[in-house]
Symmetry: C2
Subunit: 251 residues, 2 copies
DNA sequence: TTAGTATTAAAACGAACGTTTGAATAACTC
DNA sequence: GAGTTATTCAAACGTTCGTTTTAATACTAA
């Protein structure tokens, strides 16, 4: 089990350092020379083990998203089994989706706040290969949760639910990224903002504080009164759920 | 007035192209050679007119944020004068803050959706000089709106308000950036998502649709029930507003 | 017209980038 | 222990980056 450290300790060391450097400087900003020198491995090691810098970033995420994706699906499965056919409550769905994510921040072995921040920042990276990577990586989970929300809010137009899913992802991404301009301005007023107080590993249970505040906010937004659709092109209830699943199959 | 096109048409052309390229490829991803060649100016023109690439990015934003900042302050001033001492409604504050921003997307002369997307993406850029630039550029306006929210929600702990201001900025930033992973997955299901349908200038009034959906969401989140503060370190009402203003003066 | 300033132009600078090469070393297989 | 594969290493590759330099050109003001 733990005796196969011979199975390239180099790989893990590179992944650890890369995770931290990509978080701190972004994908373009973190050079392979910075990464390999801090990891104390040869420059060529990255290309040997990961093929390229893009491959390195992919594996940095795959290492963590494997757990996140399967956990999110497991939790949703459990909830749906427990509900035995009845729609879930929106709060349950959000708790499952975002709570699972934020648990990463509490557990260093899952990546901790470092990975959480990296994820938040990378989700908004404009680079094409990053966006397509995440799209593929998130597709199944997002589709499942989207359908769960459709069932949980049958009276809300589906397009509206998707919009709000957008907004919720944004809140989350921004919050965990911690690049907020508010930090510099009002940072000291609320001393309890986790991700800026210490630089490194005061992680555990600080994500919990974030979770306690983020989830009520998201739930309030999700259940807010619908806009009035004042002008033209009002959208009505969407066609049966089949559509959504079909679109997913296309790619 | 319009006859001083001799005042370096080059400058404006560079700013226009840079705005678009920074939006499309990010700050690091857009090279000066790409920018100057598309703008059909000499490579050295950027350094001549803006000093450096950083200076170019700063001026790209200053050109637009000058209007945004003053407009946001004007609108807030007008509301407060109209209320004559009474606290504003949260919906008024959000409408003023986010509505003003989204109006940029409807007006090409203010930057349009291109600048809006650029702003959303850059707000999450980890580069140090970018963060400090935005912190300085946003300081006054954010402080004013924060205080307005404090007055509008006197029973809500101030730290909680700041948290939710974070979350709202995140929703907005992510929504206008349009790098959303949801695009690729569910993009076609809701055909009305504005910023991906066409590539360029089908802008006007599409930001209006975004605004119609974003504002109710934000308002719902802002007014959501408070978390219960189950465990330790509960925070209570903050000291008088003086504190916040003092912190601002420091820089 | 002339002197002075502002702008543009072509070329090169040094540094940093991601990647590749080919040999040396370590690890494993039979 | 010989043969094979996996990994590490130093060095260099070719490219691109932002910036600077030096000269030519355009514009302004006396």
């Amino acid at each position: 089990m733990s005796d196969n450290k011979l199975n390239s300790d180099t790989r893990e060391r590179i992944l650890d350092v890369a995770e931290r450097q990509f978080m701190a400087h972004g994908y373009e900003g973190a050079s392979m020379r910075m990464i390999t020198s801090e990891a104390e491995v040869n420059l060529a090691a990255v290309n040997y083990h990961f093929g390229s810098k893009e491959g390195l970033l992919r594996d940095v995420f795959r290492r963590r998203l494997a757990w996140l994706n399967s956990e999110r699906l497991l939790v949703l499965d459990a909830l749906e089994k427990q509900a035995s056919g009845a729609p879930l409550k929106p709060s349950q769905i959000l708790e499952a989706f975002f709570g699972t994510l934020l648990r990463i921040g509490e557990d260093e072995s899952l990546g901790g706040m470092t990975f959480l921040r990296l994820l938040g920042r990378t989700l908004t990276d404009p680079a094409e290969f990053i966006r397509t990577f995440f799209a593929k990586e998130y597709a199944e989970v997002l589709e499942r949760y989207k359908l769960a929300l459709f069932r949980a809010l049958p009276d809300v137009p589906r397009a509206e639910i998707v919009w709000r899913l957008h907004f919720m992802l944004g809140s989350m991404s921004y919050a965990i990224a911690g690049t907020d301009i508010l930090h510099v301005i009002t940072g000291f007023e609320i001393g309890e903002i986790p991700y800026i107080s210490g630089q490194d590993d005061n992680n555990s249970s600080e994500a919990k504080k974030l979770s306690e505040r983020l989830l009520p906010f998201l739930l309030g937004g999700l259940r807010a009164p619908l806009p009035q659709f004042a002008d033209s092109t009002t959208q009505q209830q969407s066609p049966p759920a089949k559509t959504a699943r079909n679109k997913l199959q296309e790619k």
